[in-house]
Amino acid sequence: MAESAKRHEGHRVTAILVVHDGATWLPEVVASLVSQSRAIDQTLAVDTGSNDASVRLLKNAHVPFISLPRETGFGAAIAAAIEHIPAPKGEDEWLWFIHDDCAPHPEALQALLDAIENRPQVAIAGPKLRGWYDRTHFLEAGVSIAGNGARWTGLEPHEYDQGQRDGVHEVLAVSTAGMLIRRDVFDELGGFDPNLSLFRDDIDLGWRARVAGHSVIAVTDAIALHAEASASERRRVDVKSAFLHRPLLLDRRNAAYVLLANSSWWLLPWLVLQLFGSALVRAFGYLIAKLPGYAGDEILAVGLLIVHPNLLRDARKIRRSQRLISPRVVSTFIPPRWSQLRLSATRAAEAIRQKILPTSPEPLSALDAPAEDEDLLMPALSTRWRSVFRRPEIVGVLFLLVLTTIWSRHRYGSLDGGALPTSPEGAIDLWQRYADSWHNVGMGSSAATPTWIAVLALASTLMFGKAVFLIATLFWAAPLLLMWSMYSLLRTLTLNSWLAVGASVSYALSPVAISSINSGRLGTIAVLILAPQIARYLPRLAKVENLEWRFIFGLSFLVGVLTSFSLPAYLGIAMIYLIGMIYDARTLRSSGNRELFNTRLVRRIVLIATPFALCLPWSLEALVHPSRLLLEPGLVLAGGSSNLAFIANPGGAGSIPWWFVSPVTLILVVAVFSSTSARKYAEVGLVFLVIATLTSVISFPAHGNALGERLWVGTWLTYVTVAAVCSGVIILDRLRERLAATHFHHRHILAGLVVASTLLYTSAASAWVVSVGSDSPVKADQESVLPAFLTLTPGVKTLVLRSSYSGGLASLAFFIARESDALLGDPDIAPPTSPIIDRAVREMVDGSGLASSKVLSAHGIKYLFMKNPVDNQIVREIDGLGGFVRNSSTQAGIVWRIAGVSERLVFTDATGNSKTLLSGDVGARTSTTGPGFLSLAENFDSSWQIIQNGKKLVRTRGEYGLPQFQSTQAGEFSLIHDGTRRRAWLALQMIVFLTVLVMALPAGRRKREISVEELT
């Protein structure tokens, strides 16, 4: 000690303790100062108008102090204290700044002085700060500032201090809590910037010291405990410059100030952008966390600085005068961007991990306290790895993993076929399709893109923009996802894991699941995954009045995602909600409790309306066309017969044959007579079974299919299957014990029947899917329908004719392709073909259409392609008509070039001469040579506009009902499809989405709402 004290000869240390409502921590702080192993030469406290017992404590401790007004900032308090301290003579005086919530360890000062002893260049030194309550919590050892203004310590969240960063480190700055600074340097730098009354003043001081040629170090042998009372909002920020007295606002404003005042001038534009951008992102995050005050702080902080440019100009002037070396000297202390990203990613991953796999506190018991001696003597316990395979969840997952790997053997790649159109390459394409107001499908459509496209786009974005990969993965993993979803539901119904897993596997191999996967029913797969999750929460709606709004919006959000994929699914759930409303009305009649009724009604209306609102404007179109409430995404392919639907098999291409009779209906019929809660599930299931059976015979034109096909009832049957699985599990749970305790009767027979039929079906279905069933309509990398050369010219329209055979009869279909096969979402927005084209094609096929080629070319159709196998009779008829010139005849089919002017945009002058004009996929910018009219080969839509010389041209319907514009003069013009309406809808949808999301997410906590133990 003496030796150390000797070494510190020539150093005089004056501790300045700044106190502001610090009574909570002050006793320990004063005690720590008094007990320093290297005694403090002089101590002076500054009280800035404390309202608590701080002053009394200082007096009792005999600490000399001065009092300043309450709004005095930290820097001003230090400056006032220094004025009261006489300048030393012949000694280096060191100022040791101590906060009233910062308690240094007894060796802290000595360690600091030891560190600076042989480092004459050091002007500032700081201790390692640890948490006040969790004293292993490593708060910081030196501090810096990130480009976005964040306070950068380089530590992980709640990092445990075990000496891993010990040593003396060169840093940009150290916290003012425990900062030791040479008085002469402090004076030379002009003390703390008066514009930084609190927060970030430490970084600013360190930065200025650095560019003035001094060194700043963090000494980890010196330890101080810090409660961070102001930053964690344990006390009110009363400093004069604190606008609205909001700590976060002050912190952010000061961070921006420090960056902009100290950085090189050429970095300023980039920094402003970065500050503003990151403020926006953080504000968005705070909004989502329902902390609008913090969000406002973020934006206001930057704004405050921008409205006072003089402050920055003066600050930069002062710093320029103090600067001795290049400001680039601090660049090594500014964290690189990748470090920030890495830290953000780590934090996000940790948050997700904590959410999914929460760390359970170790159960501590005096009875099983570890005995170290015993540990040494006892052989280590080891678990046989084979025991893992005795866990039903593992067995189930492995079984389905093997099964789906074999089942999907034709589906590794870009998937299409069945009801699934081809996926666009990337997420950007999907986003664009979603945002577009005009879609180049058939003769063009302005229909609202279905919301599921946005969901897929979002999911694709999360998968690095690979939409194709997303779809392939979804179809591959669907059985596993189905099992997981159902398992999580069944765990709420039974404790028997084997039963839950077995039932979940059966669900993943149910007829509706197999059929959906094989035939590319994206909507039904989504319903299959989400329905069990929703079913988990539906029973809680019986007491809807007790539910939190967060739960209601969370459930609505989930149903909203479901609705985006399947309006029938929404219809089914809305029916359940409506039944709840009817029940409430009956309760009101019997009890007369209107308040309860109103509470329930509001909540049920929110439950019904929110999913619908989330899918605006697409869902709104379903009100105009109610038949869409029965449709699912993708192509309209025929489902099975009503008899198939009755045995819970939706039928259609790719479905399991009828003789694989699933036990679904049997279970429901058995369960509906059960005395357990299985009955309720069975009743719901049977209602949906009847609906599915009846609706399976419906057929109407939809989704680009003018004739219509027998309705696919996959969604209804999903509900039926979920109900059956739940009923079955409830019946079979503990059934063995019950049956063993009773005499043989019909329950034994029924139970045996249910179990046997389930096992038989699941085994047979497993065998089927890995053998015959794998050859499904949905396949990977199938050959394009259009010949390659018809896909080369952008926007070229080709009329595709294709024959199909069913029931021994041929049917012929046609559609207008635009340089590609059908893409995801195309069927959903495909417009109905105009009667004019219908007639032209019909007459072309029967050989009577002498004007067919003229009509088709007027619609901008350039080619006619008849896909193999061709009907030779039709080929002869087409050949027999004029206007169709054979272009090629290959294995793919026959292509005719349609004679005439078949361009998208045609100008016809006053003399009747037509001229084709260049146009893009949607808009065009070109010119006319004189008066005439412009014909656009797209479906008529009120949003089509041509603006010439600042005026909109008059829009009329042309000969075939296509848009036509009268041009009265020569000149350049712009053709646009006005997407204002679409953008307005999207904005509204985004508002609804964010509102629901914010309401559904857990609320963030203000710092003052977080316990100090959690913070430090």
């Binding site: 299409d416 076929g417 081809t422 309209v636 009503s642 008899n643 639907a645 009755f646 019929v669 509906v672 007579f673 049977l686 079974l689 009847v690 009846l694 015979v697 057929s699 680009g704 299919n705 003018a706 004739l707 027998r710 396949k779 050959e783 394009s784 329908v785 294709r802 199909s804 009869l809 041929a810 049917s811 012929l812 279909a813 046609f814 559609f815 096969d821 059908a822 084209i837 219908d838 094609v841 019909r842 096929v845 029967d846 002498l850 896909k867 009907d871 009779q873 080929v875 002869r876 008829e877 050949d879 027999g880 008509l881 004029g882 169709f884 010139v885 054979r886 005849s889 026959i894 005719w896």
Partner: protein, 433 residues
């Protein structure tokens, strides 16, 4: 167990099943359009005359290669084809075309709708030949046609011919296979609405050896019948016949030929299991010793073959020949025969059919034809149409027409088959993989 609950559940489920099945019957009806494609009648070569028999004077037609594409009534139920071929909208009535070179030869054929493939067995490209093939494109788009030729020397080089829209071309045999005396031709349109007609005309110097129109068959077959071969016995000497046969496939064929006539059914010597070389046109002489005036041949082969029978005849003192082609099984049909008095020859194990003849005055005469192996029915002289119905299965038929100019044969097949096409509907499925 609650009986009421059982009743409700059972009633609900049964009602759903019954109702849905009843409703099923009302959905899923697909619409089809049915029509008889218009038929093309052959052009008339220079120096010849041709008439087509139609059902009525109102039957619409248009000239192929004409200026107008509009159909107009023929105005005569025995319409003269001046030179250009015509397109006849004769619906379900098959029109017979009679062509003749006055005092030299005559031939008959049917106006037919375009077909995917036409096989002709007959003709020669040697020094005697004046034969040619007509390719008629009744469509309004250009047609591309593959013409494949076989002869006694095997396969000749294929020709690819282009026929302009709404026009026809004629190709002489000597330009297809110069010097070859036994021909068989296949016409396959790649594109276009093509009907092909073959005329085999022969002469030696200034002396005419006769001529005929060779009718086509749709495809090679392993079992078929050549009906209505005229057997002429003049001054105790029977006319000669030659069976021409081609095996277009990759394997030699083994054939068996049954000769069917009023005198019975027998297999001529050497024709019970005779090997026929693939790829070459083979002529087999037939000199049956029968008293019947007409006979038929029933051919069985282990490989698909096409065949025709060449008969040498003398008509009103001048030499004439006739090509009989194979006929498919007879189906109900109506023939327009105005101006002709055809003799119909039916072949089959058991023959039974009804014939309704509408005479020029509108009178209808009903006849029944029965028999076994072969039956011959001659139409009244003033017949307008002949409707064949009430057919027993397994009957084949052909028609013979004789005039002072010569003799002609036409197979009893509909010139235009009823086509049933689904009405096309818009469906985006067509552009999904």
């Amino acid at each position: 167990m609650n009986i009421r609950r059982v009743g409700i559940v059972t009633t609900g489920l049964v009602t759903a099943i019954v109702l849905s099945n009843l409703l099923t019957a009302t959905v899923g009806v697909k619409k089809y359009s049915e029509s008889y494609p218009a038929v093309a009648c052959p052009p008339t070569a220079s120096g010849m005359s041709a008439q087509v028999s139609t059902e009525s004077k109102k039957t619409p037609y248009r000239k192929i290669a004409g200026k107008t594409e509009a159909f107009i009534p023929v105005k005569s139920s025995r319409f003269t084809i001046a030179s250009d071929p015509i397109l006849l909208d004769s619906a379900d009535v098959t029109s017979v075309v009679w062509q003749s070179r006055i005092g030299i030869w005559a031939g008959a054929t049917l106006c037919t709708s375009p077909q995917g493939e036409q096989w002709f067995v007959g003709g020669a490209a040697d020094v005697t030949s004046k034969g040619r093939i007509f390719l008629v494109n009744s469509g309004l788009s250009e047609a591309i046609v593959d013409v494949a030729i076989w002869s006694e020397n095997g396969t000749q080089s294929d020709k690819v011919l282009t026929v302009r829209a709404n026009s026809f071309i004629q190709v002489r045999f000597d330009s297809l296979a110069a010097g070859q005396s036994r021909l068989s031709v296949r016409v396959t349109p790649r594109s276009g609405r093509i009907s092909a007609f073959m005329v085999d005309e022969r002469g030696k110097g200034l002396k005419s050896l006769g001529g005929d129109i060779v009718n086509s068959v749709e495809s090679p077959a392993t079992n078929f019948v050549i009906s209505g071969i005229p057997h002429q016995i003049l001054k105790g000497k029977a006319g000669s016949h030659v069976l021409r046969i081609l095996v277009p496939g990759n394997a030699d064929a083994n054939i068996k030929v049954d000769l069917i006539s009023k005198d019975g059914v027998f297999t001529p010597v050497g024709l019970d299991g005779r090997d026929v070389q693939r790829g070459t046109v083979t002529d087999i002489a037939l000199n049956p010793t029968i008293a019947a005036s007409a006979f038929s041949l029933r051919i069985h082969s282990d490989q698909p073959v096409v065949a025709g029978v060449f008969s040498s005849l003398t008509i009103f003192g001048h030499p004439e020949f006739l090509w009989n082609s194979a006929t498919p099984q007879l189906v109900p049909m109506t023939l327009a025969v105005n101006g002709l008095t055809p003799t119909l020859i039916f072949t089959g194990e058991t023959i039974g059919l009804k014939i309704q003849t509408r005479l020029i005055g509108g009178k209808v005469v009903n006849s029944t034809v029965t028999g076994s192996d072969i039956a011959i029915w001659k139409a009244p002289s003033n017949s307008q149409t002949i409707k064949i119905s009430g057919l027993q299965p397994g009957i084949y038929g052909g028609g013979l027409v004789t005039s002072t100019n010569g003799i002609g044969f036409f197979p009893l097949i509909p010139g235009s088959a009823l086509t049933r096409a689904a009405i096309p509907n818009s469906n985006i499925w067509v552009i999904n993989r």
